[in-house]
């Protein structure tokens, strides 16, 4: 066995040299890169934390502002609702007052219109009554002899069976609106004499004017009341003026 001290010394030097070489070319640069990256990572993390803190602060601020905005919105809405309610109430009261005023005016106008209509209707009725009276009066004879002649003509115009039934019916009476004077009664009976009858006189104020011959079998009318009834009936049947 032999131990080469020179080789031993060489190897010690070699290991030391290799240690220096690897320290300089390998371990130090790589460690520095790792340290630099760790520093950058730490700086990035710190920046990220700062950004996160800033973001959280911004979020908190935004939330606070949102809460304030919500409160302000609520206040504005409440004020608007209150104002709207007041305006609605005012408008409602104004509308109700306006409606009452319009209704009162309408009622007044209606009353005025109704008064005018009533006056107009009264005028029409008066005119109508005047026309009826004129027409009826225009058709009346001038005296009792005229009524007697018209009564006789009406009897003549009846058919023989109708006339015989009327004249032979019992209780034959000659009606006038007022008691006839003896001369007028004589005159009336003279006009009816051709028919062979002498009716008893009777009074009916509703006739107004004229003569009517009544029996239990029928009636022959020749009076102003009858003419008025005829005119009214004609007007009811024909509504044209």
């Amino acid at each position: 066995m032999e131990f080469d001290w020179a080789t031993f010394a060489f190897q010690i030097v070699n290991v030391v040299i290799l240690l220096a070489i690897l320290r300089h070319f390998l371990f130090r640069p790589v460690a520095e890169v790792i340290a630099r990256r760790q520093a950058e990572t730490a700086a990035t993390l710190a920046a990220a934390r700062t950004a996160q803190d800033t973001a959280q602060a911004a979020i908190a601020k935004a939330r606070a502002e949102a809460a304030e905005t919500e409160k302000a919105r609520h206040d504005v809405l409440l004020a608007a609702q209150t104002e709207a309610e007041a305006q609605r109430k005012t408008l409602l009261e104004t509308a109700q007052a306006e409606a009452a005023r319009i209704l009162a005016e309408g009622r007044a106008a209606l009353a005025r219109q109704q008064g005018a209509d009533q006056a107009h209707e009264l005028t029409l009725a008066r005119d109508l009554a005047l026309r009826i009276a004129r027409r009826a009066l225009a058709a009346q004879p001038a005296d009792l002899s005229g009524y007697a002649e018209r009564l006789a003509a009406a009897l003549t115009a009846l058919t023989d069976p109708e006339r015989r039934a009327l004249l032979q019916g019992g209780n034959l009476r000659l009606l006038s609106p007022a008691p006839l004077s003896p001369e007028d009664l004589t005159l009336a009976r003279a006009a009816l004499a051709p028919f062979g009858i002498t009716p008893d006189p009777a009074t009916d104020p509703t006739l107004i004017a004229g003569l009517e011959l009544h029996s239990d079998a029928g009636t022959v009318r020749d009076s102003l009341s009858h003419d008025l009834d005829q005119i009214a009936k004609a007007m009811r049947d024909d509504r044209t003026p």
Binding site: F3, W5, Q11, N14, V15, L18, F25, L26, V33, I34
Partner: protein, 220 residues
């Protein structure tokens, strides 16, 4: 290797100094590692590529191992432990190159490595604890233990040397004998096993060196 494992063959002579093959192979390993390190760290960037990632992985693993053994900044021991690991690994695996014998298969290289570790332990112990404190560690737990602690300082580094030498030399020796007897392909499994053994021995040497230096630093 069919000669005595305890003998070294001369490569050339520099005047009165004879340079042996283990020294020459070591120079080759130094050149390879130095050149490779220079090339690999030429363009380091914060965004690592594949090669840089491997280098950073090695450094981070070293730092992690050192931190687990010695508290404090791992950068103090990174270069020494890392150099021991890489050199022993390359030296052990250099036997795979035909015609090359691993320098660690020779006692002088292992002794040199053990002496470096021994010196580093003394140096770091003195730096961290001072002369008085470092000397006081030999009297722990009692002054009676001083002779035993002094012997332990020698023997544990001697065992460091012998363990590496025995494992690597035996592997190389076995492969040489089997290769001489059984032909070309038969030693291949043994060579693979030798690679594993070489890696394990490199790790063991570096780990024990770290433990020994750590004990000197902490005084325990």
């Amino acid at each position: 290797m069919i000669d005595s494992p305890l003998s070294t063959s001369a490569a050339f002579a520099l005047g009165p100094v004879t340079v042996t093959w283990p020294v020459v192979v070591t120079w080759g390993i130094i050149a390879l590692l130095g050149l490779g390190a220079a090339l690999a760290t030429r363009r380091l960037s914060p965004t690592p590529g594949r090669a840089q990632a491997v280098l950073e992985l090695i450094v981070v693993a070293l730092d992690s191992e050192i931190k687990a053994t010695i508290p404090g900044d791992p950068g103090r021991f990174r270069a020494l432990i890392g150099t021991l690991l890489l050199f022993i690994l390359c030296a052990n695996w250099s036997g795979l190159v035909p015609g090359v014998e691993p320098p660690t298969a020779h006692l002088e290289t292992d002794a040199a490595l053990a002496v470096v570790v021994f010196a580093a332990g003394i140096g770091w112990g003195l730096r961290e604890q001072g002369l008085r404190g470092w000397l006081a560690t030999f009297a722990r737990p009692s002054w009676v233990m001083i002779p035993l602690n002094l012997v332990e300082q020698i023997t544990r580094h001697f065992s460091l040397m012998v363990r590496l030498f025995g494992n690597v030399m035996s592997g190389v020796f076995v492969i040489s004998i089997v290769g001489a007897l059984a032909g070309l392909l038969v030693p291949i499994p043994l060579m693979a096993l030798d690679m594993l053994t070489g890696a394990v021995q490199a790790y063991i040497f570096a780990a024990l060196a770290l433990v020994f230096i750590g004990s000197s630093v902490s005084g325990e």
